[in-house]
Subunit: 184 residues, 2 copies
């Protein structure tokens, strides 16, 4: 059984001021919504995960506007929401138990950000034994300052993280290709 | 209590023929040995993790020469070895239980490769609540082919992965700086 896992698609991850950088893939949330709607149409299981930052200065701190799930992917009745405080969707949550209970074997993952919570959750999902598909244009990165002091642009962080996840942890597909295959 | 975690420092990860690429940081194993010797001198806990690939074509497949732990970091009596089959040192092993039993709170991590098993183990260790230090020149990457079809050189895969792990998951230090601090 295949399920959709939406991770940290929260308004605060458009607040580039806090992160001090531009993000790549500005259309990621729209693609997340397309994938979500396709899963709803097919009545396939959907799991939402949201991040409650423990850092009061984060836009994802509970109670702040940025903590709210993005309007394009608001959960509806029957779609469980798992709250987490760390990067992995599987640590400190009952997500793995819920998936096993529903015989989920294949996970389609979308959300933010690829270099932090998505990479961590994809890696752990694969290592726990799920077959993972990551939708390339339904995730995004921010710029990062390296250990060498250089600034690495969001698009490069994104492409190198995809390269490291590819084959070893996940099948990578874009939204168009995934939706075409789902309809077949 | 601080412990050292050595991950997948096995002979097969010098076999660049299989991986079809050059590796960066050729001195990584020597630096791992320097860190290991410092932990032995101080009688601090040491945990070895080795990878038993489930892929018969991998140099890390059990029974192949490449599966053996590198001569520079051979375990000695009293240093436990944890065997794993996936990237994370914490999945399918009793490593977390062993660490909790010894009151380990701080983990120094060295080994191979940064983009696969090191990144996955660092991320999960941090999310499980350990304070993680990753030794920058005691790990290394291989070239990767991206989802966009481009080849990303080992040094770039390494620097971008360090950038993504830095601050969010681990403190990054080089061998020289770490050993100087340990002696203080």
């Amino acid at each position: 059984m295949m399920a959709l896992l939406l991770i940290d698609i929260q308004s605060g991850l458009q607040e580039t001021t806090y992160y001090g950088t531009e993000r790549n893939n500005p259309q990621a949330e729209e693609n997340c919504a397309k994938i979500l709607n396709a899963f709803r149409d097919k009545k396939l299981p959907i799991f939402h995960v949201m991040h409650n930052s423990t850092n009061p200065f984060s836009p994802l701190y509970p109670g702040k506007d940025g903590n709210s799930i993005h309007p394009l992917v608001q959960p509806i009745d029957g779609e469980p929401i798992f709250q987490k405080k760390v990067n992995s969707a599987f640590i400190g949550t009952d997500l793995e138990i819920a998936m096993i209970a529903q015989n989920i074997t294949d996970l389609v993952i979308v959300g933010l950000t690829i270099e932090h919570c998505i990479s961590t959750s994809v890696r752990m999902a694969a290592n726990l034994g799920f077959h993972v598909t990551l939708i390339s244009d339904a995730t995004a990165a921010f710029d990062k300052i390296g250990f060498d002091g250089k600034r690495y642009p969001a698009e490069l962080i994104y492409q190198t993280e995809l390269a490291s996840l590819k084959d070893e942890f996940a099948k990578i597909m874009d939204t168009f290709t995934f939706l075409a295959e789902l309809d077949n």
